[in-house]
Each structure stands twice: as C-alpha cells, then as structure tokens.
C-alpha cells in the first residue's frame, strides 16, 4: 500500500527488460534485412512509413508508450479488472466475427482508421489475466474437476471463437495455458496424455515415420536418464516408460496409417490433410522449401548481415512476419541461430524464475502464462521454418513484423514486470 516514492524504476526486473529490448532490436534489424535493397533511402523510408521496418519502428514507439503507462499503473488495477478485460476481449472477438475484415483468408482483423488490428493477439493477454484471476481466487480449489473444467473453458472459449475466424494457428496458442494449469496442479498424466495424443496424430500425418521413430527414441532415452533415480527405486517404472515408447511407435507407424486408409472415408482424410496444409497446397511446401534453403544456405557462420541472397530477394514468402527466422538463419548461420534461441531460453527461464519468486498466486499464474505463450509461439514458429511443423501462421514473439503482436507481447511482459515489482506489497 505504501509504495516507496524513491525511484520511478524501483523494483523493475532489468534482465527481462534487457532481453526484451534485445529481441525487439534483433527483430527490427531482421525486418530491415528482409526488405533492404542496395539503393534504398533508409531515412526517407522510415519517415514515410512505407516499409515494414519503418512501421515496426513506429509500433515499437507505441509499445514503449504503452509499457510506460502500464508501469505507472497500480498493479491492483490488473487484478481488479481481469474479468472485465476478459469479457471485453471476448466481445471484441465476437465483434470481429461480425464486422471484421478478410486479410489473407482469415476473418480476424479490425480496421481502425488506417490501421489493421488483430484482436486475437490481444485476447491472449485477457485470457491470461482471467485465468490468473480465477486460479488465484480464494474459492477455487484446483484439485476439483469442476475448477479444472472452468479453467479449461476460460482458455478455450477464445480459441473456439478464433477458429471461427479461420485463424487456427492463433487458436492453437491457447492450448499453451494447459502448461500453466499443469504448474498449478493439473495432473501431469492428463497433460501428457492429451498433448501426446494430439502430437502423435499430427506428427504421424505430417512427419516421416522413421524421423518420428528416431525422435521417440531420443525422448525415451532422455526420460530414462532423468528419472534414473526413480527407476532404481522402482524397476516397474522402466517397463512403463518402455511400454509408452512402444505404444507411441506402434500408434504412429501402424494405427494412424491404418485408420486413415481403412477406417476413415476418403473425403474425410482429404479434409484433414487439406486442413493440415498437407495435400495439394504447393504454396505451403514452397514456403517451407524456400525457408529451409535460406536457413540451410547460412552454413555455420552465416553469410553476414545483409548478405543473404534468399531472404533479401523475396524467395521466402511472409519474410518479415512468420518466416523472419530465415533472415537470422541465413545471415548469421548456425552460431547466430543458436545464440538467438539462447536469448529466448534465457528470457523464458528468467520469467519462470520471476514466477517462482512470487508470493501472489495471481502473479505466478500470470507469469507462467506469459512464459507458456512465448514458448509455444517460439517452438511452433521456428519448427515451421525448418520443416518440423506444418505452416501455421503464428509470429515469432517480439521479432516478427506485426504491430498487434508486438504490442500484445509488450503488454504481456510489462504487466508481469509491474506485478513483479509489487511482489513485496501484499499477498493476493
């Protein structure tokens, strides 16, 4: 209650701010690299906002303003208005269904003046706040099935509406909240089973069987290694792990193909495949192929900043948005890519660290939500640029070109910083 009036930046978590700035700046540089031509007049482009990098720079400015406003806001405001914000978010999503604009086949954009805005980006924040509010409330006993179902509903209602907007990719992001619920006590088995079920079916359809088999083997080996103490105590654990491993392999290599060729009807199979972007969509395979060429041609050390031929000359579609990682992969090579991923991992671990030091459940759930959302985006986005995941249009947090996305992630992070700065105040 008695906030010390010493310093404006009192209590701010500088490592997170530093990592945030690093990622945004890398993003700006990558967008610039994707668009830059030798004879461009850079300053003129920036002033006229006629390039993606200049517009992204403007959005960065807006984001800083918004972040400052958030920083100056009392942290109680967020807890108090969480449900209201959530309701507003849902309303906005429904509004888009009604009066939204079609952009690239998805009906998820609002046009305000000269700017397009995608509310689905913002509702991640709303959902995260609402989930934190619900899980931290005194009445909630997360060991009860009812509470778990309500929590799941909070996460999945926006996802449902977003699917109706044909933005399946963004909708999938909401599944990342299950990671938060797991942290708050959802039985791990449920999470594992649900998650692996989806992953198994998808991967069986999209990835080569042998590659899958190798991946399973690696995971199994890792699991055995990390649970070696438990296995020592209880030999049957090993059998369970191996059993699961055997089941997964069988499932992927025989059951799914069998179901798809024998059980399901032809047109059903085709629908699923088209939805997954697998069948008869040469554009999707073209994207992945060009993206892999760009990243692969970077080699160990990369071609150097602005030297990439693939990313600079529009070979990779959606260069500034969903495939921005190609620029990093081509210009900075394997070394640069690993360092880049390391920055994200550092950010994620720092957020988890911040989450775990909270006395307030609200803040902890919220911080885990931020980590989960960023992680999900990161994993899917990079996987799709290197051919590990189907091309679903979700951006790389803070790096991809896109005002809504940058603003949404800025708000997510800075609300967390505000909450964290006030962690000593009260137990909420």
């Amino acid at each position: 209650m008695n906030r010390p009036q010493t310093k404006l930046t009192q209590g701010i978590d500088w490592p997170i701010v530093g990592l945030y700035l690093a990622l945004v700046i890398i993003g700006l540089m990558s967008i610039f690299a994707a668009e830059y031509r030798g004879d461009d007049n850079i300053w003129q482009n920036i002033i006229h906002l006629n390039k993606n990098y200049s517009r992204q720079l403007m959005w960065f400015g807006i984001s800083i303003v918004v972040a400052s406003v958030i920083w100056l806001t009392d942290s109680k405001f967020f807890t108090a208005t969480a449900n209201l914000v959530y309701a507003f978010g849902i309303l906005l999503l429904l509004l888009v269904l009604g009066i939204g604009k079609d952009v690239k086949g998805s009906h998820s954009w609002l046009v305000l003046g000269g700017f397009q805005f995608q509310p689905a980006e913002l509702t991640k924040l709303c959902t995260n706040l609402a989930l934190a509010k619900y899980l931290s409330s005194q009445e909630t006993d997360f060991n009860k099935l009812r509470s778990r179902l309500i929590a799941a509903a909070i996460a999945l209602v926006p996802a449902g509406i977003i699917i109706l907007q044909s933005e399946t990719g963004l909708a999938l992001v909401y599944f990342s909240f299950f990671l938060v619920m797991y942290r708050e006590g959802l039985p791990g088995v449920l999470l594992v089973i649900a998650f692996s079920g989806i992953v198994l079916v998808l991967s069986a359809l999209l990835v080569d069987k042998m590659i899958l088999f190798i991946i399973f083997s690696v995971i199994t080996a890792l699991v055995i290694y990390f649970s070696r103490r438990e296995i020592k105590r209880k030999r049957s654990r090993l059998l369970v792990i191996l059993g699961i491993y055997g089941f997964c392999s069988l499932f992927v290599m025989f059951i799914v193909p069998f179901a798809f060729t024998k059980v399901l009807k032809d047109y059903q199979v085709r629908r699923i495949e088209v939805m997954l972007g697998k069948e008869n969509d040469p554009k999707a395979t073209y994207n992945t192929r060009q993206s892999m060429i760009a990243i692969g041609s970077g080699g160990f050390w990369g071609k150097g900043y602005l030297k990439g031929t693939q990313t600079r000359f529009d070979f990779v579609p959606e260069q500034s948005t969903d495939f921005i990682f190609c620029t990093i992969g081509e210009d900075f090579g394997f070394v640069g890519s690993v360092l880049f991923i390391a920055i994200y991992v550092a950010l994620l671990f720092r957020i988890i660290h911040v989450a775990e030091r909270q006395r307030s459940t609200f803040t902890r759930v919220y911080a885990y939500g931020v980590a989960s959302i960023i992680f999900f985006h990161l994993a899917i986005n990079i996987s799709m640029t290197i051919g590990l995941a189907p091309v679903i249009g979700i951006p790389l947090p803070l790096v991809s070109y896109g005002g809504s996305s940058l603003l949404a992630f800025t708000m997510l992070i800075f609300i967390m910083l505000r909450l964290d700065a006030d962690r000593q105040m009260v137990l909420r």
């Binding site: 030798g38 942290r183 006590g185 041609s297 160990f300 031929t309 890519s337 992680f375 994993a379 590990l388």
Partner: protein, 644 residues
C-alpha cells in the same frame, strides 16, 4: 504447496530445453551437415547473364566498311508497371489499334509474367522510334526502349557474299557443334557471316547477377568478381571492291546470271554477283521476316547464289582448256589447223560451226578467235583417243577428266562462303555406267565444245581464267584477305599457290594469243577497252528445259570469260547471262564494263562506252512469264523497302 510444485517447475524447464534441443539439432543438420542448401540457394539467386560483344566489321579492299553494326531499339514492357498511360496516343505512334495493344500486353504476360520485362515490339522502324523517344516520359516506367545491335550493310550490296545472321534454330541447339550457343542467340547463316562466324562473333562475356524470386536482376554478384568481359569480334578485310560489286549488281539488274571477278595474282575475289540481286539490308531489322519470305518464294530465286551454285555447260568458253589439254598431250601444236567447212563430220551427224570460210581454223590462234567447233571437236577426240593412254575407254577419258579436275572443274574449289556446288566433269566410270561399255569419243564429242555432260559454275570458269592468265597456277579464290589480330589458321589455305599439271609455257602463250585475238578481231570484239590488251572467250551454252514434259530448246545462256591486262593480269572474270543468246551480245559488254571499272576506276565518259553502259543497264532478259510471277521488281532496285 511451493515445495510440492518445485519439480513441476523443473519439468516445464525441461520441456522448454527439450524442444529447443530438437530445434537446434535440426538446425545443425540443415546448416552444418547438409551442403546442398548452399547450392540450391545459389541456383535460386544467381543469374548468369551473357553479355554480347559487337560483331566484327567487314571492310572491302579499300578499307570501306561494307558490313557493320547498327543500333535499333526494342520497345519492352513490364506489364505490372503500366499505369495511367495514354494508350490511345501510344497506339497512334505504334500504328496499332487498342485491341491489338491489349492483345500484345496479354501475350507478354503469358510469355514472361506481369513483373518481368518482355519485348513489346522489336526493332522499331526509325520514324516510330523517333516519335516514341520524344514522348517516352509519358509511358514510363511501364515501357522502356532498349538498344539492340543489328547488322547493317552501308552499300546495300553483296547480299549473297556477306550473308546474314539469324536466330539459332531449335534443331541447331541440339547439335553439339553449337553447344556454346543459347536459345535466342544470333549467328551467321550464310555467306561470310557463316564461314567466319568463329572470328566475327567475338567472345561473349558472362556477368553474374543476383536475382530475386521473380528472376529480376538486383545487382552484381560478389561485386562482379566472377564476371568476364565481352571481347568484340574481329574485323575482316576483303579483297572485294565494293564499288565494282555494286556496279556488277546494277549491270545484272533485270537479268538472271552472275559475274565473278578474281585477282589472278592472289586469288582474291573482286566481285561476285548473282543476278537478280537484292539489298542485304532487307534481311536485317524490322521487316526481316516479311522480306525473307518474299525473297524465298520469288520465282527468280534471289537467295540462290548463282555464282557458286548454278551449274551451266560452259560452251565455247571451255575451248581454251580443250586446247591446253591438246597441246600438253602433244596431239596438236599451236600451228595445227583443221579444214573446217562449216561443220564437223568426224562423228557422222555433223556438228555445226558458225564459220565456213576456208582457213578460219588454220592454226590454234585462228581457231580460238573464231571459236571453231570443228577444230575443238577434233582436238578433243585426238586428246582422249591418244594412243599413249590406250584409247578413250582404257585411259584417255580418265586422263582428260584428271586434266579438267586440275583446272578446278568437277569439284568444289573451296571458296570461303558455304554452299558451293561442284559442277560436273564426266569420267570413264560415268560413261561406263551410262553406256554399259559401248561408247567412244564420238559419244561425248560435245565435251570438246563445252556441251553435253560437262557443267561448271561461274566461279570455276573465272578461276580457270586465272590459271590461263597466270600460265598454270592459281590461288583458291577467296574473299577474306586478312583478319585483324588474326591468330587462326583459317586463311592459310588461301596463301598457297597451286600449280596445274605442269603444262608448258608455250602452250599457254598460244592459248593466250588466241584469246587476245578473240577480243581484237574475233567473237569478243564487243568487249574491247581502249588501251587495254585483254584475253577473252565468248560462249553460248545451249539451254534445254523440260516444258510440258518435253525437252525443249530454250534461249541460250550467254557466257563470256576474260582476263586483263593480258601481259600482266590483274583481273579474271566470268560473266553469264541466262537466256540472252550469244555470249557476245550482253555477257561481253558486261565483262568489259567491269574490267574497265576495276582497271581504270571508272567507266569512260566516251559516248560509245556510255551508250554500252546505258544499253546494258536498260536490258531486261528475265523472261516475261517469270517476271510476271516475280515480286522482286517491287522489292529490289528503286522501290526497295529500305531498312529504317
């Protein structure tokens, strides 16, 4: 609570690390292990652009450029950039209507897509280019004018010699000989353009450019480190005299036939005319394909180079060679005579002679100057029946054919333009096959007067005159005297003097005297030029054609061969005017005018010479029927559709 949840934090961290490890392993595979992506990226992004050098220029013997390069402009369009232009105005300039404009744009898009430059209209005529250039700013950036080099023939002469270039055909592209060419390249198709393609083309440069996803060049690759510059083609210097050539083409206007003039001292060709000729500029630039079709289909066959491809019985112009063989065989001497009374009766059916006064063939000189048929029929039979060869069917015929082959007949001489025909010298095998062994010197006695199975090309006859005037030697006739900065061996074979059959000097003297008499007092008086001693021989080859399925006698081919000055020959010439009667009538004056022009640099203003010139220029010998179907008169001469 907190304690209970501690491992869950670890699990979440493990999930993150696990996922990132999978990604990093995959990245390691993509970027470090697999090498193919770098290559794929280069294939994606590097454009190999051929830089065309300018083709070599061809100069005549006096250093005048007769085949050089000119620049015309292509109008190219980038369909997507065409915005807000005054289409109607552009259509007016281009002389097309709006429908055609739309269709052309649609074609361009179909061909190359909407973002790449495509030729909208190629090789604009000068007046269109002029207008368009003035108002180009109205049509940019969608439209651009791009310069393109084309060949140009400043004198508009020498079409069949110089040849033309054209785009490589799909069949040639599959041929390994043309491996260095790409589709769309131009190369020499005929004439010197073809023979000397390797030196004229120069060396193409290669520029590596980086391109974007739509194949649009974006700048040099690695700052041009791997580029190689284009080297211009080498220039050719010919022995051709372009003014002489142009005069020859003028003289042959309205006539079918040819003129070949050679410098006997080095075999350099001074002029080679195939009539009717055409302006070679017709085959460059804007109207090329239309003109080509008209030339190709014309009844007078202007694309057929009669000087090396037409084969005629040489007629009486063959008689000097008959005499030389007779003299060398020793069957006649310069003083041998023949009692001709108007015909040769040695073989039953008489062979008519134009003369019947006694003593017109009292010796070789007289016989040559009077062109006595009896004398040369007799000499021919003596040569082939000579006892030392065991008679005509044993060795005589073959020996005679060998002589003729030595004189350059019956095989390609090797001139440096393509498509030369060999002519024909019948030999023993030929007659054995044709008459199944029952033949003798009477069977082919007509060979003695240049008729029957023997056929020669005008080039071969001109070359034979070189041999006679040089007294037994010649150089392979050729056009190219030198190549600038030559490092090839293309010209070596033209530098070598060939000696023919070691016939004695006295034999040549006798024949040369006879031939000077032809001009002084014989059948070739019409070729006389004041102050120049000249040797010559007229000829009238009988011409038969199949008309309505019957062998019908047509007007004779007039021929004339000559060399001058007789004592120190500088020019040897052969003129053939098809279907114009006696050789003396048109062929001799044409040869005379050519020789005068070459030796004296101009035709004398003497009224008699000017009258001859006028008569020749005005004479049209192309048969009425052929002319009616020919489009050449409207194509050629004064109403030529000039290249802009």
């Amino acid at each position: 609570m907190s304690v209970f949840n501690q491992p869950r934090r670890r699990v979440i961290q493990l999930i993150i690390l696990g996922m990132m490890s999978i990604i990093i392993v995959r990245l390691f595979f993509l970027q470090v292990v697999e090498k193919k992506y770098a290559k794929l990226a280069d294939a994606n992004a590097v454009l190999r652009k051929v830089v065309y050098p300018s083709r070599g220029i061809i100069y005549d013997r006096k250093g005048r450029a007769i085949l050089s390069n000119d620049v015309l402009y292509d109008l190219v369009v980038t369909p997507r950039s065409v915005k807000n232009i005054d289409t109607a105005y552009m259509c007016t300039i281009l002389k097309i209507d709006k429908e055609e404009f739309k269709k052309k744009i649609a074609d361009c898009i179909k061909k190359n897509g909407p973002v790449r430059q495509t030729v909208f209209m190629s090789l604009l005529p000068a007046e269109v280019y002029g207008q368009l250039q003035e108002s180009m700013y109205l049509f940019q950036p969608g439209f651009e004018l791009i310069p393109r080099q084309i060949r140009s023939y400043p004198y508009g002469a020498g079409a069949n010699i110089l040849g033309y270039i054209a785009e490589i055909s799909p069949t040639m592209l599959k041929d390994s000989n043309y491996a260095s060419y790409n589709s769309g390249d131009y190369l020499g198709f005929t004439g010197l353009e073809k023979t000397y393609e390797s030196v004229l083309m120069g060396q193409r440069g290669i520029q590596y450019l980086v391109k974007d996803n739509l194949n649009r060049p974006q700048g040099p690759y690695e700052n041009g480190e791997f580029d190689s510059a284009a080297v211009a083609g080498k220039n050719l210097r010919l022995s051709l005299d372009i003014e002489l050539q142009a005069l020859g083409e003028k003289l042959m206007h309205g006539k079918i036939g040819s003129i070949v003039a050679i410098d006997p001292s080095d075999g350099g060709i001074l002029a080679m005319v195939s009539g009717p000729s055409f302006d070679p500029n017709l085959l460059t630039g804007s109207y090329r394909s239309a003109n080509f079709n008209r030339l190709y289909q014309d009844t007078t066959l202007p694309l057929f180079n009669r000087a090396i491809q037409a084969q005629y019985p040489p007629g009486s112009t063959f008689k000097p060679m008959i005499a030389l063989v007779g003299l060398d065989e020793g069957v006649i001497t310069p003083s041998t005579g023949y009692p001709c009374g108007g015909a040769y009766y040695g073989c039953g059916r008489p062979i008519k002679c134009e003369h019947h006064d006694a003593g017109h063939a009292a010796n070789l000189r007289l016989a040559l100057s009077h062109s006595c048929n009896s004398y040369f029929s007799h000499t021919y039979r003596l040569s082939v029946d000579a006892a030392k060869w065991g008679g005509i069917r044993v060795g005589g015929m073959q020996k005679w054919a060998d002589y003729m082959n030595n004189f350059g007949f019956g095989h390609k001489i090797g001139v440096d333009i393509p498509s030369e025909r060999p002519g024909r010298i019948p030999d023993k095998k030929y007659y054995d096959a044709k008459y199944k062994g029952s033949w003798n010197s009477c069977t082919n006695v007509f060979l003695g007067i240049g008729q029957g199975e023997v056929e020669t090309t005008p080039l071969q006859m001109a070359n034979a005159m070189c041999i006679v005037s040089n007294r037994g030697s010649f150089f392979i006739p050729h056009f190219v005297k030198s190549i600038d900065n030559d490092n090839t061996h293309l010209l070596d074979k033209y530098k070598e003097r060939h000696v023919v059959a070691h016939i004695s000097d006295t034999a040549y003297s006798a024949v040369i005297h006879g031939m000077t008499d032809v001009i002084e007092s014989g059948t070739g008086r019409g070729a006389q030029i004041e102050g120049i001693t000249m040797g010559g021989k007229t000829g009238t080859a009988e011409n038969y054609a199949i008309v309505d399925g019957k062998r019908t006698k047509m007007p004779n081919h007039a021929q004339f061969v000559a060399f001058a000055p007789a004592e120190n020959p500088k020019i040897a010439i052969c003129v053939i005017v098809e279907r114009s009667g006696f050789g003396a009538k048109y062929a001799a004056p044409i040869a005379s005018l050519m020789i005068e022009k070459y030796l004296k640099d101009s035709i004398s203003s003497n009224p008699r010479r000017q009258a001859i010139l006028k008569t020749v220029l005005e004479t049209v010998t192309i048969p009425e029927a052929m002319r009616a179907k020919s489009k050449l008169d409207s194509l050629n001469s004064t109403v030529i559709k000039k290249r802009p």
